[in-house]
Symmetry: C2
Subunit: 763 residues, 2 copies
Amino acid sequence: MKRFTQRTITLLIAAGMGLATTAAWSAESLQDVLKRRNLSQQDLLAAAKTYVPTGKRDEFIAFSSGGQSGQVIVYGIPSMRILKYIGVFTPEPWQGYGYDEESKKVLAGGRIDGKDITWGDTHHPGFSETNGEADGQFLFINDKANPRLAVLDLRDFETKQIVVNPIMKSEHGGAFVTPNTDYVIETVQYAAPLENKKFYPLEEFNEKYRGGITYWKFDRKEGKIDPKQSFSLELPPYSQDLADAGKGPSDGWSFNNSFCSERYVGGIEKGRPPYEAGCSAKDTDYMHVINWKRAAELVKEGKAKKINGHDVLMMDTAIKEGILFLIPEPKSPHGVDVTPDGTKIVVAGKLDTHVSVYSFDKIMAAIKAGKIESKDPYGIPVLSMKDTLHTQVSLGLGPLHTQFDSKPCVAYTSLYVDSQVAKWDFCEGKVLDKISVHYNIGHLMTMEGDTTKPAGRYLVALNKLSIDRFNPVGPLHPQNHQLIDISNDKMQLIYDMPIPLGEPHYVVAIDAKKLKPGVRYKLGTDSRTDKPHPAAVRAGEERTEKKGNKIEVFGSLIRSHITPETIEAEIGDEVTIHLTNLERAQDETHGFTVSTYNVHASVEPGKTVTVKFKADKEGVYPYYCTEFCSALHLEMQGYLLVKPKGWKATKTTLAAGNYTEAEYKAIVKKVADTQTVIDSVVGYITSVNYKDFPDAVAMVEDAFDQIGKTKGLKEKHEAFAAKKDWENAALWAEQIWQYQVKCADLGIRAKTHLEQNGAKKVK
Amino acid sequence: MKRFTQRTITLLIAAGMGLATTAAWSAESLQDVLKRRNLSQQDLLAAAKTYVPTGKRDEFIAFSSGGQSGQVIVYGIPSMRILKYIGVFTPEPWQGYGYDEESKKVLAGGRIDGKDITWGDTHHPGFSETNGEADGQFLFINDKANPRLAVLDLRDFETKQIVVNPIMKSEHGGAFVTPNTDYVIETVQYAAPLENKKFYPLEEFNEKYRGGITYWKFDRKEGKIDPKQSFSLELPPYSQDLADAGKGPSDGWSFNNSFCSERYVGGIEKGRPPYEAGCSAKDTDYMHVINWKRAAELVKEGKAKKINGHDVLMMDTAIKEGILFLIPEPKSPHGVDVTPDGTKIVVAGKLDTHVSVYSFDKIMAAIKAGKIESKDPYGIPVLSMKDTLHTQVSLGLGPLHTQFDSKPCVAYTSLYVDSQVAKWDFCEGKVLDKISVHYNIGHLMTMEGDTTKPAGRYLVALNKLSIDRFNPVGPLHPQNHQLIDISNDKMQLIYDMPIPLGEPHYVVAIDAKKLKPGVRYKLGTDSRTDKPHPAAVRAGEERTEKKGNKIEVFGSLIRSHITPETIEAEIGDEVTIHLTNLERAQDETHGFTVSTYNVHASVEPGKTVTVKFKADKEGVYPYYCTEFCSALHLEMQGYLLVKPKGWKATKTTLAAGNYTEAEYKAIVKKVADTQTVIDSVVGYITSVNYKDFPDAVAMVEDAFDQIGKTKGLKEKHEAFAAKKDWENAALWAEQIWQYQVKCADLGIRAKTHLEQNGAKKVK
């Protein structure tokens, strides 16, 4: 391809494209740029496929695990720009997550054995589904290191709940969602005794250590997991791994794979072969096939055993009731994926070259016919591969995870060792295309590719640590997500994206149009409960209450002041500060911190948050708004005064400012001049069809809000002037100007927005 | 412009560009893509200017404050891809930062009044400089909320030191570096008593509250701030703001601006005008002009006063010694920027429309001539604007921060209210160009734009919260950094970049070629001290020591096992685990965690880290490698066993595996077959000029390392086979295969790398 590039481009420009040589907006032509930057035709095409111009939107939104950062990463496709890190298992101060009292309660839901866990190893995100389709309402994600599951609300992209798995000490597979989000599935990784804090030696591994699978009941109306309605199955001490819920014909069943069904116990320090040898010595592990709908009924019928207060269906019961089966699968697989139509289940054993496609019909037929090949050491019936396989396809070295296309029968599987993606036909069992990716791909992901209606278009390859893709940033490299265009017969690699924080294990993506997040909260909302905050205030209701050694501030934030501007405490007082953001403009987030007291809050418009601390050191501690919220952002400040016990004031008046009548009059003139500017901006706005632009309308409303706050201030400064109190006269006049500046700022923003978006003159 | 687009492109394709219709790699032509994605010519040009193809590098590397995330963000220009978040003031589990003992010590340096501060409000990054040029060795960044300064080493992009400002309760301006990095400058934001934990009422604001400026001494050889050699100046209780060090002719002096020189105290809750009115009522604030070189000498001469154990030059001394002057500046400025040649100082008062260009020569002349206009309330001599101004230029509404071009006399200033960037000539005092940016720009930044040798090319506009630029992600929006091409006469906006975590306050960028970070550590390094770690091990030196209730593990990590694979403790034991990563391959980072014990480590090749915890709960807790390090990553596991006090084993043998001679022989055959694959890959590699490719050479060396580990294993499995111990025979043979898989993996990676990078056949 390269040979075409320079020459063709030169010709084309010479031939009269005139793309840039005559263009006013740049002195450099496209030809110049391609030459200077050494870009090929293919590069230019890839750039055109991924570039999202200013103000335009991405087509899909990806939600990626943030790996050991404990967070969720949100990015746009095809631009691969990261839009947000959402605090999930790890405190995140920018969001106030883990710093305000409301979010501390969410994190407290994830305490284990009475202690805070301040991080997580997030692994598998999963969308809530309706009829098997991603519905854009909720996202679930698990913590492998400390078995937990989190619920994120996609109305505000905040974490609302964390639940701790009651029987697991390690998990990997989760969150997998049933087609109507009745349950969220989580599976054990490394086996351990199910009873909490119970020790058994490794010598009793086969008898006392167990795997398991948990079905978390989701209450969609509450937007919360209901632990009381959730249950688990006891499973053998094989390392259960990923899972998937059946759909369509296979709805009601779930499938999960496993590794180390050898039940090997390592001990390299004692001269035993390590886990890696003992856990992959046999040719096959087991796919677990579970009838979860029947299991849920059995739990309701009282057939579960309580372990750590949680309902667990024991293996004996599951076997007796015929809801648990095993099928051999090529060894050490990672990923079990149900096809969009629900008829087949794809498993890739990463130490084999094949993907295995199992037929749900055949599985059911074998079960019905009682065609049991054998039983595992725990008595679980094992169906044969022969009886249940649809086909096996040799794809290459290290097949790992499979996702689906919008085109029927088309699947994509990552090849770890070959560092490739294979496109193949799971109906016919044949390879269609292969593409090389950056080294060592783990999972891969297509748009809504694990739902009943995959959207096709793009595929993301999740590659491990990048050594030669990006500018070096020290020994700890970013990961590399590569974007591949799958619209056409041949796959095309179009973008390399570094992941700057955490090692994403898996990612899911949804059509951007399905997401409809809010832009502000209803005034006085506790965003973590979505309920009215009991300590919210409206403008004018701010107050400070002191009872004994407890100080409670009911404050507010609005451009550009904090009410109150002084908080007085005595040493040892407990200080609680509730803050309501009174703004309506969607980007008027305010932050709040008190110097060296280790509190921070992020207060989006309408939100109310609470910070708490003990005033345990005497002195003077400034507080301020930590968001760049307006031109006067730096003046959005105040002082916490922590006085010695029993301190008595000797001086009771603040130093007077030094203001003259001339200064007062100059400010009054400035106010009048600024009003002329505002009037001219208003003149422009009302001369065009601004009402057709919702963002402009919002800014105009906000501008009127701001100017509305000047009500009464003219009378006020004039009254002070009449009394020759030039300081108060000047400052209250100045305060009018403050509001004018904000009003003008908004008006100019609205004007720019209208100009940039093609507003038209109206008569 | 739009009218050209479709038609011209159509013509051009028709005219024979043949860009894509006949290209094999895609079914979609450039024309199709532009039409489908509704891209204009200008969009395509911008895409071509910013797209970085797979494997290619960015030209500049930006280091951005991470705002309230407390971290530093590293991104590439022009692709605007984020390469890394570096943990600085906030614990960051992916990096083990704040989770391993080594980094806990760094964070402990930032404890205030004996307590952990678990976040920061990072504001101004600054590079170390040599002769006024960014040298790519260190980065400094400050914490506004809890006045602290951090040192990052750009050899490994890790935070090495945090120091707490001994006299400030709030700061904003920092880190500003003197031309040879002798000092790093930090300035107070909100005034408070300088004495630690000292309360004075607001009524004594003028008398007892103070501002200040600190000059932190940097020891380049140690790579650390030396607090004992650092000093401060007491300053009036004006809110000191940003600063800059003189350079060239002005070297030895520093300049900082201020706001609220009114010394206004708010109290909106008591009916007083708020801070925003009282702090910006007067037309001017003060630029502070300080002879820091002379100040440092005065401190050495013993003229400083100790406050909180720290050397502070009091205002009276500074005045008497003639090293401190004030000059009026238009009110409420943010940014004071010394021109690259050091002759001028640019200040923009954000509530005025002008930038003011002061002449260093004129300042010196006025000082020399004793032309003192007045004195401030503290007796500091005030020079006049008239005597010191070079020129003033009206740029627009809300001028804020200025950066410089590689072209002489060319500067860029952000206009907050106008939401524009102005390009202007600071010699001639005229406007050259303006460009609209997304709403409300704060700082802006050009490449090495605050050094003596700006690099030109690009400008980044740091805009506040984006409301309509990106797909919505809930009420808390990302920020927006816009990339502007400044190579030509007219500025061109070429990229919108969302910032997903934290509100970056400022950013600096450096030519990528100046950075030469390491890719691995010398074996056994404590990366936070850059010294050999006392608990490092080499392969074979791993051991566990128990003394009383203290367990100390000297372990190692290597693909794909942790040594040891079992750690036994009694309840209540203190467990210390040291882990050395024995890998040499640069991307073989391993992670480590113990289930629910809230520890995590990131262990890059060569690094040794320590995690510590109390085994305070009985039971079985899996540990594992948290990085996706190899195909057998999931098998890189072990168990922490926490036994009850006095527990005695009754069963002392592990369950035997079930292996047959046939299985053993099958594994032996697999090993032989795999060797054939390896040989063929080696055949390819040695058939080309692989030695010309350092990355390939590294992979080949690593592949040989891996296969080298099989030494002795053949004898071992054959000896077990001779004894008919089929389990041990099979597993040790299997272990050979494990190493073969890693060797093959690397060989295939090397092969792909060579193929992709045009390796040539050698004879």
